[in-house]
């Protein structure tokens, strides 16, 4: 994986996958009666990138994805929430990956939780209502569930795609 061009095309591919998954997610009305709860399918390619190209590339991918998705399907206000969520989760996942006590699943769960925490923090600042924090336990739990699901799927993909990267290094 020394080739820069390879990395750029790979991250482009991941961005395309993330973008399509975001779109698919807007078609599924899964809110389960709780506002703000989403599966976060588009975080699968971000997790895969984190474990194949590293945190720098994953962070770039997350930021570009948020901008693209907000411009096309979202609104200006959703941009801030998504951006805060993406940044906090990618930061915490990088730290957790470095510390190396959790598997892909654990790191993904941390990502899911911190994503929601980042969003609620921004919501509290924008709406200026501390009462929003009452949602935190629910959002944390949904973060665990979503993070676990994403982690399991990402783990399967990383195991298969990771081989590709090792081979490339040896060539």
């Amino acid at each position: 994986m020394k080739n820069r061009t390879y990395k750029v095309s790979y991250i482009g591919l991941m961005l395309a996958v993330a973008f399509v998954l975001s779109y698919i997610e807007t078609l599924i009305p899964v809110s389960m009666g709780i506002p703000g709860v989403k599966a976060g399918l588009s975080n699968i390619p971000i997790m895969v990138t984190l474990y194949t190209l590293g945190s720098m590339y994953a962070a770039i991918l997350a930021c570009v994805k948020v901008i693209l998705v907000s411009v096309t399907f979202g609104s200006m206000s959703s941009f801030f929430y998504s951006f805060a969520g993406a940044l906090t989760s990618i930061l915490m996942m990088t730290v957790m990956k470095r510390i190396d006590v959790f598997s892909t699943r654990g790191v993904s769960i941390i990502g899911g939780i911190t994503h929601n925490l980042g969003q609620i923090a921004v919501a509290v600042i924008i709406v200026e209502n501390m009462k929003l924090l009452y949602y935190t336990p629910v959002l944390v739990m949904s973060g665990v569930v979503a993070g676990l699901g994403i982690g399991l799927i990402a783990d399967l993909i990383i195991k298969r795609i990771g081989v590709l990267f090792v081979n490339n290094d040896q060539k």
């Binding site: 809110s31 598997s103 654990g106 941390i110 924008i126 336990p137 739990m141």
Partner: protein, 127 residues
Amino acid sequence: MEKQKLKNDLVLIIVVIIVALAALLLINLYKRATTKDAYVVIEVDGEEFGRYPLTEDMEINVPTYNDGSNTVVIKNNAVSVSEASCPDKICVNHKEIMYNGETIICLPNRMTVTIVSGEDTLDGKTY
């Protein structure tokens, strides 16, 4: 090593779920304990729009951020949002709220509807 990590994952999940459930329980207990003479407070973009007693049935039209509007309904000591100009309608689909501290939020219109205990309000303190 791999097995140890999976064990750590499991511990993480269990600890987080327990903490979240405990917090949820405490919040619910607190809400139930403090719901008397409650008020419905509507805020738009961080500023208070109005304050209404929870016990009186009424319908309030709230002009909100970006020329939007929401209709808040108070009925049988419960509050809900019946109409909203926002695209996602999360506030409209939100279940009724009836306890202290419960909130319905419309993020696109920057409106929040909160039930506040009578003791929390400024009026309650001055008189």
